[in-house]
C-alpha cells in the first residue's frame, strides 16, 4: 500500500518539477498529464485499500477531465504557435506587470 | 408592496431609458426619464396618503426572505424620517432632470445613459431609505456608488476621473469598514438565536460594551465619510467640482444624506450606549465641521467647491443635532436634511446654469451679472439666503431647532456652532457680491437670463423653500413621532427647562 502511494507521490513530484523546468509547452503538458496519472494511481490504490470502487470512479473522472484538458490545452498551444511561431512558455509573458 | 414598487419603477424606467434607441438629440430619453420621475413622485405622494402620521413606528412594511442561509431579508418599511428622505429624493429627481435637460449637448448619444444612471440612483436611494434589513441597507448603500461613479467619471468635466476614483475609493473604504460591523452583527445574532439582519431583531441584541463600541465605530466611520464629517470631507469638493450640477445635487442633497440618515437609523438605534459614549467627540467634530467648512468656503474661488464646502458646514449642523440627543435637535436635524437638500439643489443648479453660460466656474470670472440676468441672480440670492438660514426660509427652522436643542445639552458647543451663522452670511454674500454685483464684466455681458425651462425647474424648489420656511409643520408632524423613539432609545432626552418648574407650568397654562 505504502509503496504504491510513495510511487504515486514520486511521480507527482517529478511531474511538478518537469512543469517548472521545461519550457516547451507540449512537454509541460505531458508533465501535467504525468501528475494527473500519479494521482490516478493513488486513487486506485486507495480504492483497493478501502475495498470500494469509488476511487476507481474518481480516477475515471480524472481521465475524462484530463482528456478535455488536453484537447483544449493543445488547441491553445496550436493557436499560440500560429501567432507567435513558438511553443516556449517563457515567450507568453503578457502577464508581466 | 408600495415601497418595492417605488424602487422598481425608477429602476425599470432606467432600463427603458438605457435601451431606447440613441437619437441625436436624446429627446425621447429625456421625456421618458422625466415621466418616470414624475410617476415616482406621484407614487411617493400616494405613500404619504397611506402613511398614518399619528401612530409613528415603521409602516408600509414588507418582509420577504432573500438569502435564507444568512437570514437576509428583503425588508422594507418607513417611519417619518425615512418617509421625509424618500420624499426629498422623489421631489429632487424631476427637478434635477429638468435642470439637466440640456446637459451633454456635445455628446448627445450618451444622453440615454446619463438619464438612466440618474434614475438608477433615485431607485437605490429610495431603497436605502426604506431598508429595514441591515444587509440590504449595506448592499444598496454600496450600490449607490456605482451610478455616481459613472455620473462623475463618464459625464463630468475637468479632472473627472481623478474625482470619480477618489470618490469611489473613499466611500468604498467607509463601506468596507461598515461591512466588518455588519458581519459582527451577523455573528452576534447567530450566537443569540438565528442569524438575522432585521432592524427590529438587531435592536434586541445583547452585546458587551466593547463590542458595541467597535460595531458602532464601523457604522459611524462609514456614515461620517458619506456625510462628510471633518476631517473625512476632502472627497466632496473634488467630486462636486468635477460632476455635472445635476449629479452634484443628487450626490450632496440625496446620497450624502444616507450618512446622516444612517447615523440615526443604525448608529443611534442599534448602539445607543456607544453613541452616547462617542457623542462628546462627535459633537466637537461636528462643530469643527461647521466652522471649518464655512471658513474654507470663504476662501474658495470655484463656485462648485464653495457650495460643496458650505454643505460640509451644513452637515456639521445636522450631525450636531443628531448627537445632541434631544428631540428638538434631532427633529431639527431631520428637517435640516430635507431643507439642505432643497437649498443646495438650488445653489448647485443655479451655479451650473451660470457656469454653462460663462464657461468657467471661477467666481472671479463673473461680475455684475445681476444687471443682465436679474431672474438668475434673484434665484441665486434666494438659494444663498436659504443656505445662510434666513428666517422665513426653510433651513432657518431646522438650523434653529438644531442649535436650540444642542444649547440645552451643551452651551459652549452650541455657542461656537452659532458662529457658523455669521460665517454663512460672509461666504454667501461675498460670493453673491463678486458674481452678481459691481460693474459688468465684459465676458458676462452676453448672459442670457433664465429660460422658461430653467425657471420651471427651480420654481418648485423655491416654492418649497419659502413655503416650508413659514409652514414647516406638515413635515415636522411627520418627523416628530419618528424621532421620539430614537431619543428614547438613546435615553438622554430633552432636559427640562432650568428655571423653577412651578413657574413653567404656570406660564404654560397662561400660554394656552
Amino acid at each position: 500500500m505504502t509503496e504504491y502511494l510513495t510511487l504515486s507521490m514520486l511521480l507527482f513530484s517529478i511531474g511538478a518539477i518537469g512543469v517548472l523546468v521545461r519550457r516547451n509547452a507540449i512537454i509541460v503538458f505531458m508533465c501535467v498529464e504525468l501528475m494527473l496519472n500519479a494521482t490516478n494511481l493513488a486513487f486506485v490504490a486507495f480504492a483497493r485499500q478501502h475495498g470500494n470502487l469509488d476511487g476507481q470512479v474518481a480516477a475515471f473522472f480524472v481521465m475524462v477531465v484530463a482528456a478535455a484538458e488536453v484537447t483544449i490545452g493543445l488547441a491553445i498551444i496550436v493557436s499560440i504557435y500560429r501567432t507567435r511561431r513558438t511553443t516556449s512558455v517563457d515567450d507568453a509573458n503578457l502577464l508581466k506587470a | 408592496m408600495m415601497l418595492s414598487l417605488l424602487i422598481a419603477v425608477p429602476l425599470l424606467g432606467a432600463l427603458v431609458v438605457a435601451l431606447l434607441p440613441r437619437t441625436a438629440d436624446g429627446a425621447t430619453a429625456r421625456h421618458v426619464a422625466f415621466g418616470v420621475s414624475i410617476l415616482t413622485l406621484l407614487m411617493s405622494l400616494a405613500l404619504l396618503r397611506e402613511f398614518d402620521i399619528e401612530s409613528g413606528g415603521y409602516q408600509l412594511t414588507e418582509d420577504h426572505e432573500w438569502i435564507g442561509a444568512l437570514g437576509v431579508h428583503w425588508a422594507l418599511g418607513v417611519n417619518g424620517i425615512g418617509l421625509t428622505m424618500i420624499f426629498l429624493t422623489t421631489v429632487l429627481t424631476p427637478i434635477v432632470l429638468v435642470a439637466s435637460w440640456r446637459d451633454k449637448e456635445a455628446d448627445p448619444a450618451r444622453t440615454n445613459t446619463y438619464f438612466a444612471w440618474m434614475l438608477v440612483l433615485e431607485a437605490l436611494a429610495i431603497g436605502v431609505f426604506a431598508a429595514t434589513d441591515v444587509f440590504m441597507f449595506y448592499v444598496l448603500f454600496e450600490a449607490t456608488l456605482i451610478p455616481l461613479y459613472f455620473l462623475i467619471g463618464a459625464h463630468g468635466t475637468g479632472q473627472r476621473s481623478y474625482a470619480a476614483v477618489k470618490f469611489l475609493i473613499y466611500n468604498l473604504l467607509g463601506g468596507l469598514i461598515m461591512l466588518a460591523s455588519v458581519v459582527g452583527l451577523y455573528v452576534l445574532s447567530t450566537q443569540q438565536g438565528g442569524p438575522s439582519f432585521l432592524h427590529a431583531d438587531l435592536m434586541d441584541l445583547e452585546m458587551s460594551q466593547t463590542t458595541e463600541r467597535l460595531l458602532f465605530l464601523g457604522f459611524f466611520i462609514a456614515f461620517a465619510i458619506k456625510a462628510p464629517l471633518w476631517p473625512l470631507h476632502t472627497w466632496l469638493p473634488d467630486a462636486a467640482a468635477s460632476a455635472t450640477p445635476g449629479t452634484s445635487v443628487l450626490m450632496v442633497s440625496v446620497v450624502d444624506k444616507i450618512g446622516t440618515f444612517g447615523m440615526i437609523r443604525w448608529c443611534l438605534e442599534l448602539f445607543p450606549g456607544a453613541s452616547e459614549w462617542a457623542s462628546p467627540v462627535v459633537l466637537v467634530l461636528a462643530t469643527i465641521s461647521i466652522l471649518y467648512g464655512a471658513l474654507l468656503a470663504i476662501g474658495q474661488d470655484d463656485l462648485r467647491r464653495l457650495i460643496a464646502l458650505t454643505s460640509v458646514s451644513h452637515f456639521g449642523f445636522i450631525i450636531l443635532g443628531i448627537f445632541a440627543f434631544t428631540s428638538v435637535s434631532m427633529t431639527g436635524s431631520v428637517l435640516y436634511m430635507f431643507n439642505h437638500g432643497l437649498s443646495t439643489a438650488v445653489l448647485f443648479l443655479v451655479a451650473g446654469m451660470m457656469i454653462q453660460r460663462r464657461g468657467s466656474a471661477r467666481i472671479s470670472d463673473f461680475g455684475g451679472v445681476q444687471k443682465v440676468a436679474p431672474v438668475l441672480s434673484g434665484v441665486l440670492l434666494v438659494g444663498g439666503l436659504s443656505s445662510l438660514s434666513l428666517p422665513g426660509l426653510a433651513p432657518f427652522v431646522s438650523e434653529f431647532l438644531v442649535l436650540a436643542g444642542t444649547f440645552t445639552r451643551s452651551i459652549p458647543i452650541a455657542t461656537v456652532a452659532t458662529l457658523g451663522i455669521v460665517l454663512a452670511a460672509v461666504y454667501i454674500l461675498l460670493m453673491y457680491q463678486r458674481t452678481m454685483t459691481g460693474p459688468l464684466n465684459e465676458a458676462t455681458a452676453g448672459f442670457r437670463d433664465l429660460s422658461r425651462r430653467e425657471v420651471g425647474a427651480m420654481a418648485p424648489a423655491l416654492v418649497l423653500i419659502i413655503g416650508l420656511g413659514f409652514v414647516p409643520q406638515p413635515l415636522l408632524e411627520v418627523i416628530d413621532p419618528a424621532v421620539e423613539p430614537v431619543v428614547n432609545t438613546v435615553g438622554v432626552g430633552d432636559p427640562p427647562p432650568r428655571a423653577p418648574l412651578d413657574l413653567t407650568q404656570q406660564t404654560e397654562g397662561a400660554h394656552e
Binding site: L94 | I298, G299, A404, T437, P439, P472, D480, P497, E508
Partner: protein, 625 residues
Amino acid sequence: MLDLSWLLIAIPLAGAALLLTWGKESDRFGHLIATACSAASFVLGVVLFVELAGRDAEDRSVTTDLGTWIDAGPFRADFSFTFDTLSSLFVLLITGVGTLIHVYSIGYMAHDERRRRFFAYLNLFIAAMLTLVLAADYLVLFLGWEGVGLASYLLIGFWQHKPSAAAAAKKAFVMNRVGDLGLALAIMTMFAWFGTTSIAAVNDQVHSVSGNVATALGLLLLLGACGKSAQFPLQAWLLDAMEGPTPVSALIHAATMVTAGVYLVVRSHDVFDASATARNVVIAVGVITLLMGAWIGCTKDDIKKALAGSTMSQIGYMMLAAGLGPAGYAFAIFHLLTHGFFKANMFLGAGSVMHGMNDDVDMRHYGALRKAMPVTFYTFGIGYLAIIGFPGTSGFFSKDKIIEAALGHSVWVGLAALLGAGVTAFYMTRLMLMTFFGEKRWRDDVHPHESPSVMTVPLIVLAALSLLAGLMALGSWIEEWLEPAAGHAEHHDLPLPIIVITLIVLVVVAAGVALAWLTYGRRQIAAETPADSEVSAFTRAGRAELYGNHVNDALVVRPATHLTRALVWADAKVIDGFVTGGADRLGEISGELRKPQTGFVRSYALMVLGGALVVLLGLLAVTLA
C-alpha cells in the same frame, strides 16, 4: 377688530410678493400698488390704534394667534402677534413714515428703471418691520429682525452696479449677523431656561432665575440690539449704509429699523429690570455711541454721513434712556418717535437737496440753497430745530426728558448726555450753515431747483409732525400710555429742579450753535474738503469714523482672512495630503509588489508549488501537534 393686526403685515407682504413676481408690465403702476399697500396698512393701523385707545388701560394688549409655526418635541413657537400700546405706536410710526417715504420715492426714484423692484423691497421692509414690532414670540420677532436685515441689505445694495454699494450692503448684513448671533443665543437661552420663547412668558419668568442668567440674557439681547441699531461696538456699518438711495436711509437707517434695538430692549424690559449689570452696560453703550456719533457728525462733509453720525448719536440717547430702567423706557420710545419724524424729515430733505444738486452729497459744494429750495429749507429747518431741542419742538421735550432721567441716574451720565446735546447743536448748525447759508459753492453744471410736490408734501407733513409730536408729552401721556407695556416708572428725585436743568440744557445748546456760527457762519467755507494733514487730530479721527473699520480690520477681518488662507492651504496639503499621500504610499508598495510578477508562467507555477508546500507543512504541523 384688534385681532386683525396680522393684516397689517399681510398687506405690504402681499404687495411685495406681487411686485416681485409680476412681470415688466407692472413697471408703470407697481409703485402705486406698493404705496397703496403701505397706506392701507397705515389706515388699518390708525383704526386699530383708536380702538385700542378706547379700551381700559389694563385691556390694551391683544394677542392674536395665527397658528403654530414650529412644534418639535418640547419646542413650540406660534405665529402670534401682540397689538399693545408699545407696538401700536411703532405701527403708526412705521406705516405712517413709511407711507410718506413711499410717496416721496415715487418722485425720487422716478427715473430708475428698477423702480418697481425698489418699491417691492420697501413693502417687504414694512412687512418685516411690522412683524418685528408685533411679534408675541421672540422667534417671530427674530423673523422680522432678519427680515428687516434682508430688506436693508437689498436696499443698501440697490444700486448694485456700484461696488461700494454692494460692499456696504454685505458689510451691513454681516455685522447685523454678529448682532443676530446674540439675539439667537438669547432665544436659545430662553428656551433652555424657561422652555418657551414667548415674549410675555419669558418676561414673566425672568425674575425667577438667578441674576447671572438675567445678565447673560440681557447682554445677549444687547448684542443683538447693538448690531441692528449700529451701537458701539457694531456701529461701523451704518455710515457705509448711506450708499443706499436716500429714502432708504430715511426710512430704514434713520426712522425705523435702526431703532429696533431700542425696541428690543424696551420690549424685554423685565430682563433688564432683573439685572442691574445689563442695564449699566446698556447705559455705557448708549453713552459711548452717543458721543461717537456726535463726534463723527461734526467732521463729515458728506451730508448723508453727517446725518448718519447724528442718527447713531440719537439712538445712543435712546439706548441710554432704555438703560435707565423703568424711568427711561417711555422716554426712549418717545425720543424714538420724535427722532423718527425729524430725522426722516431731514434725510428726505437731504435727498431733496441732492436731487437738486445732481446727486452730489458733499456739503462743501452746497451753500445758499435756502433761496433755491425754499420748501426744503423750511422743512429741514424745522427738523433742525427739533433735533437741537429748540423749545417747543418735539425734540426739546424728548431729549430734555432723557437728560433729566440721566441726571437722575448718575451725574456723569447726565453730563455726557448734556455734552452730547451741545455737540448735536454744533454739528447740526454746521450742516445747516454749509447747506443753506453762506455763499454758493456749486459746481458749474448744477442748477438747484425745488423738488416736485410729490417729494415736498411728505417733507411738509414730516416737518409738521416734528414740530407737533412733543404734544405726546403733555401731561405725561406717553408715560401713561406705555405703562402697560413698559412698566411703571418711579420718579426719581433730581439733583436740581427741572427748570434749572432745562435752562442748563438750553445754554449748552446755545453754546453749540454759537460755536458753529463762529466757525462756519462767519467765515468763508472752503469749497474743497481740507486734506487730512491740514486738520486737527480730532477731525481726522472723526473722518475715519473713529477708526472703527480699522479696528474691525485689524481684529477680525485680517486675522480671519489669514486663517481662511491657512485653512485652504492646510486642507489641500495636510488633510487631503494625508489622503492622497496614503494613496501614493499604496502605489509605491504596489510598485514593489510588481517586481516578482515576471510574467513567466513557470515562476508562477513555482510559487503555487511553494504555496502548496507551505500549506502541507502547516497541515502536518497541525496534525502532528
